[in-house]
């Protein structure tokens, strides 16, 4: 693994996501250089309320990911509801309306697997609270590509099945509480 200022961060969360993200994303410092891509399971017919909510609290720009958009440093991108979010090898974003994966669209696995493919060891994957198993295969792909895998401690998580499944698939993943995740990420690529 090779965590440098050229890292990219991918985060997946489901039940309990809002509180968990509020504990992590607002702590990222101005001047943070890694792009951050986030998949949260939200109901398909709902507009993404997380973007305005987090934008109000974060120092970094928070936006909904757009198709074919080039990744910019220090920007936090959320997958739009009802679309999968993928990263291309040329570091642009892609959306897709493929079938749901693990009953989810967007799916954490889809983002993590494409990001592992595009970034290899320059990737940090973080699985937070959630009540399903999405993200487990994705985090495994991050590990296999040589990236850093982090899982929110099940003892702390609001919903434990997602962290448990991720740890089962990737036993070597780092287990951290939210404040440790926040400081780990903050130390990445701070200019």
């Amino acid at each position: 693994m090779n965590v440098t200022s050229s890292s990219t961060v991918v985060i997946g969360a489901s039940a309990g996501a809002v509180q968990a993200l509020l504990a992590v994303l607002p702590t990222l410092p101005a001047g943070f250089t890694a792009p951050v891509l986030v998949v949260v399971h939200v109901p398909p017919d709902r507009d993404n309320v997380l973007v305005p909510l987090l934008q109000a609290k974060c120092r970094l720009t928070v936006k909904e990911a757009e198709d074919k958009e080039a990744l910019a440093p220090g920007v936090i991108y959320f997958a739009p509801s009802d679309y999968h979010l993928l990263v291309e090898a040329d570091r642009t974003l892609a959306l897709s309306t493929d079938e749901p994966v693990n009953y989810s669209r967007p799916s954490i696995d889809v983002l993590f697997e494409s990001a592992a493919d595009a970034y290899g060891e320059n990737l940090v994957g973080v699985i937070l609270t959630g009540a399903n198993h999405d993200g487990a295969a994705g985090l495994k792909a991050v590990v296999e590509a040589g990236g850093v895998a982090i899982v929110q401690s099940p003892a702390e998580a609001y919903a434990t099945p997602m962290p448990h499944a991720a740890l089962q698939a990737s036993p070597t993943a780092l287990i951290m509480n939210l404040d440790a995740i926040a400081s780990y990420l903050s130390s990445l690529g701070a200019a």
Partner: protein, 274 residues
């Protein structure tokens, strides 16, 4: 990351499909193609993408099976109801001023969007003066579109969407249900021409007043998107309308300046006067 052997195999397979069958996926958004080819390899039981390539080159019966992976057939009737409401409230009043109309549904999948537009045009009294062209590259999807039969368990969502789109009739007026399937009326396709047409390799074929191409170009890279948008530009009549999927836009296209944003929130554009 550096290119892996699998990336190379994918590139070769796409080239083979093009040379052998003239299906051109070489400039589709690669991450998604890779995902689906990996699935195809696994589910069709090949050890490598190269083995899959060998088979599809020598066995044309493999082609439709592979096409089902390479083309995404996810759709529903009145998908994004606000789009259809916007057509009803803002676009159809303009179209009404023409004595005859042509509408192109590009990438129509199994026909869900076609029947939605046919119903909308019926409800607004424009159906009888319109010819609809419904095109796709997947022959099985086109056959399904022409049949207009859907699993009954999808109808609830279709009905809900139709109502949200401002539907003036009841969706059940347009289909007969039997044996777990809903068969849509022939009267909804009496003015529809279904045909095989690729936005990647084929040309303009008629002059259109409205083109609806939703969730197709999202699978293309920028170069291909630009080609498709050029086709739409060439097909549209002066002041004709172009509707895209809710996450698609003309933003990266060299043709952007040929269009005005008619209803930006719904990704509905209008071709400018030349």
């Amino acid at each position: 990351m550096s290119e892996t052997i699998e990336d190379l195999e994918i590139q070769l397979l796409l080239e083979a499909l093009y040379q052998r069958y003239h299906y051109d996926f070489r400039h589709y958004a690669r991450a998604s193609i890779k995902r689906r080819l990996t699935q195809a390899r696994g589910q069709l039981g090949f050890p490598t993408i190269s083995a899959l390539q060998d088979r599809v080159l020598h066995d044309p019966a493999m082609l439709p099976r592979l096409l089902d992976f390479l083309t995404v057939q996810v759709s529903e009737m009145f998908r994004d109801p606000s789009y259809f409401r916007a057509l009803r409230e803002h676009v159809l009043p303009h179209l009404r001023t023409y004595p005859s109309l042509k509408v192109w549904i590009a990438g129509c999948s199994a026909g869900e969007e076609v029947y939605s537009l046919a119903i909308l045009f019926k409800e607004e009294g424009l159906y009888d003066r319109t010819i609809f062209y419904a095109t796709d590259i997947n022959p099985e999807a086109l056959a399904e579109a022409e049949a207009g039969v859907y699993a009954l368990d999808r109808i609830r969502k279709f009905t809900e969407n139709h109502q949200k789109s401002g539907g003036k009739s009841s969706l059940s007026d347009y289909y007969t249900a039997a044996y777990g399937r809903a068969a849509f009326d022939k009267g909804l396709r009496s003015r529809v021409v279904f045909s095989d047409h690729s936005l990647v390799t084929d040309a303009v074929f008629a002059e259109m007043h409205l083109i609806s191409c939703r969730n197709v170009m999202i699978y293309f890279d920028r170069t291909l998107q630009d080609r498709a948008i050029g086709l739409f530009r060439g097909s549209l009549t002066r002041k004709g309308f172009l509707g895209l999927g809710s996450k698609e836009s003309l933003r990266f296209s060299s043709h952007a300046s040929a269009f005005a944003e008619f209803l930006p929130g719904e990704k509905i554009y209008q071709k400018r006067e030349p």
